[in-house]
Symmetry: C2
Subunit: 358 residues, 2 copies
DNA sequence: GAAACCTCTGCAATCGATTGCATTAGTTTC
DNA sequence: GAAACTAATGCAATCGATTGCAGAGGTTTC
């Protein structure tokens, strides 16, 4: 009843199987080095005692934590949490645990980033946030790089890190072209947050597509925004007061697109009848608002899986490539209900019977 | 250049400060036991060497990981990720790391739940998922409980665990009453997933409110659903074919409410003009769709913070209360745009000027 | 049939911190 | 001024696994 069973150690297994602890250890980590009979006795002993290796002891000896640290700007954001999901699964399948550090840039209280490494709690860092202090980061990686590191989603310009990301510029071009193909001529853009790499890449893609089609961009069509819904809604407020306003908008991501559409409605405009909208990301949400959102799908699960896999390869690899590796995944255009041909240019809507029928 | 600096150990600090490692250890963990001068020399030495305690060594010796494991059904779901955010912050502020185990119930490949404990990787478990195999869980906790465990959000019926949750039943009652107060008489409900405790609690709250108001519940008004958007949309398909259909719906959560509203639109019905809808949770999304969703706000951040705090208290506490502790947080009614007075009962809408104005 | 070579196993050091016990020096008590 | 404390520190064992080295026994090679 009050008998407290201690968790079994390798000693217990060794005693039970009548071998030394060294043999038990070898039987578990490199079975081919142990004779078949002994191996059988040991696995029986493991079964009976219910032995599980103590990770702390192993970490101490091998200087390895079998854990990766994922640093992200906002777990609460579903864009990241789906990636985290994929990361967690890939890591688990390779025997690694996942520690999360949220709100990375501001993370200076409590356990600090460096400490995670120095204290041997983690073996590698997966950075899902490009807006990080480069200097601070370089301190971690030093030369020769002691810290396996992969930057995913975003990219830190001119920094020698391995990256996994999607083809943001091209995808933005593709999204804009979709609007052009539908017949839109005045096309606007809601920007991401200032100073973010993705913001720049997507805006440039938009500009390239417009230029390629020989269409002008009026500066006031490019609205300040951000990656949150609220930013999109605020942009809608400014949008409606544009004199000769666009008939279509390419938003920097799905959240701002959703907020924008909601803001349009609030001001009495409809989507897609009055304004077509394309988003970016393809959040689960995108398919389930009304009308369903046309967007560029980022392969988030693949991204998480690949990034985690690459990080673990890096951790386990003997030699670390000095040349940073860049992986680019491609996005996919998902056409749904928020894009349509532009409204008839001049005549008032009264011509259309659809409005009456409701 | 090729000089590989080893990470400093307590030995290095001891040598530098000219004391034994024992003294360094004490200076760091119980400073009052070391003379002021020595303490000063040691902190100087720590500063110079850049020492950080090796967590593996500490864990091994103290049988403590300073890490908690958070098991959740779906990180990708923003409901959970906001909670995880709060948990992570609370844990970090108390010097704990957070390991995540996603899709808990199915987690049998890779690292298994038990192993996390037996291998001494984590000190406690925060369970955000009630639909877990009780037997399997009891194996973990045994008697006397070796594993500090807190169940948050959901509750495992008849299981002797500490819980932190919100007042689901009461909140559901409150949400339904809001609809009744607006004048609705035929009020339906979209249920959560079968077999979930929350599903039952919310449905019962709905039923209580109806009963208290002397209103009947027609069985076909209670629609099968789930906690995903898709479930809400599917429910809308069945909803429209109800003969004498409700003028209002209380959905089991925000996601199903959003999917439902989207489905209504798809079938030519409007919210709130034709059907009022109340959700549950108050996701960020709720305020940003159009019309903004009326819902019951669950204090998710507080819930995560409190649960994590309680778990760490449990881990660090000398004695573990044998009596399970139940904490209940209260929800808040947030009235937005998806609820309105019911449409005029008989006359066709042509009477109402509002419809023409748009 | 001696030398060389495997295969399998055990011994014991090691990873880096914590902590029970012992020791030294200084202080208080009667 | 001896006994009894107290404060500050060091010694060395300990946590549990891994691994370099070496030895025992057997097999192959020439």
């Amino acid at each position: 009843m009050t008998l407290v069973k201690k968790t079994p150690t390798i000693q217990d297994v060794a005693r039970f199987a009548n071998v030394s602890t060294a043999t038990v250890s070898r039987a578990l980590s490199s079975p081919e080095r142990v004779s078949e009979q002994t191996r059988a006795r040991i696995s029986e002993a493991v079964r009976v005692t219910g032995y599980t290796p103590n990770q702390s002891a192993r970490s101490l000896r091998q200087r390895t934590a079998r854990t990766i640290l994922v640093a992200l700007p906002d777990i609460g954001n579903s864009f990241f949490s789906v990636i985290l999901d994929a990361v967690e699964r890939e890591a688990a399948s390779r025997g690694y645990g996942v520690l999360v550090a949220n709100r990375f840039p501001r993370m200076d209280s409590g356990l600090r980033m460096r400490d995670y490494f120095l204290s041997n709690r983690v073996d590698g860092l997966l950075l899902l946030d490009g807006s990080v202090d480069l200097e601070q980061l370089m301190m971690l990686t030093g030369d020769p790089t002691p810290v396996p590191l992969i930057v995913a989603c975003e990219e830190i310009p001119n920094a020698p890190f391995h990256t996994v990301k999607t083809d943001n510029g091209y995808a933005a071009e593709r999204a804009t072209r979709h609007l052009i193909d539908l017949g839109h001529r005045r096309i606007g853009h809601i920007r991401g947050p200032d100073g973010n790499v993705l913001t720049a890449e997507r805006e440039q893609g938009y500009a390239r597509a417009m230029q390629a089609a020989g269409l002008p961009i009026c500066p006031e069509w490019v609205l300040a925004g951000g990656f949150e819904m609220e930013a999109g809604r605020a942009a809608a407020g400014r949008f409606i007061s544009i004199a000769d306003r666009p008939t279509a908008i390419f938003a920097a991501n799905d959240e701002s697109a959703v907020g924008f559409i909601s803001g349009l409605r609030q001001h009495g405009l409809d989507c897609p009848d009055d304004v077509s909208v394309v988003g970016f990301d393809d959040l689960v949400l995108a398919a389930h608002i009304w009308p369903p959102l046309t967007t560029m799908r980022q392969p988030r699960a693949a991204l998480g899986r690949i990034a985690a896999g690459a990080l673990i390869d890096l951790i386990e690899g003997e030699r670390r490539s000095r040349v940073p590796m860049h992986m680019v995944l491609s996005s996919e255009m998902i056409v749904r209900g928020t894009t349509a041909r532009p409204p008839a240019p001049t005549a008032p809507a009264s011509l259309s019977p659809a409005l009456v029928v409701r």
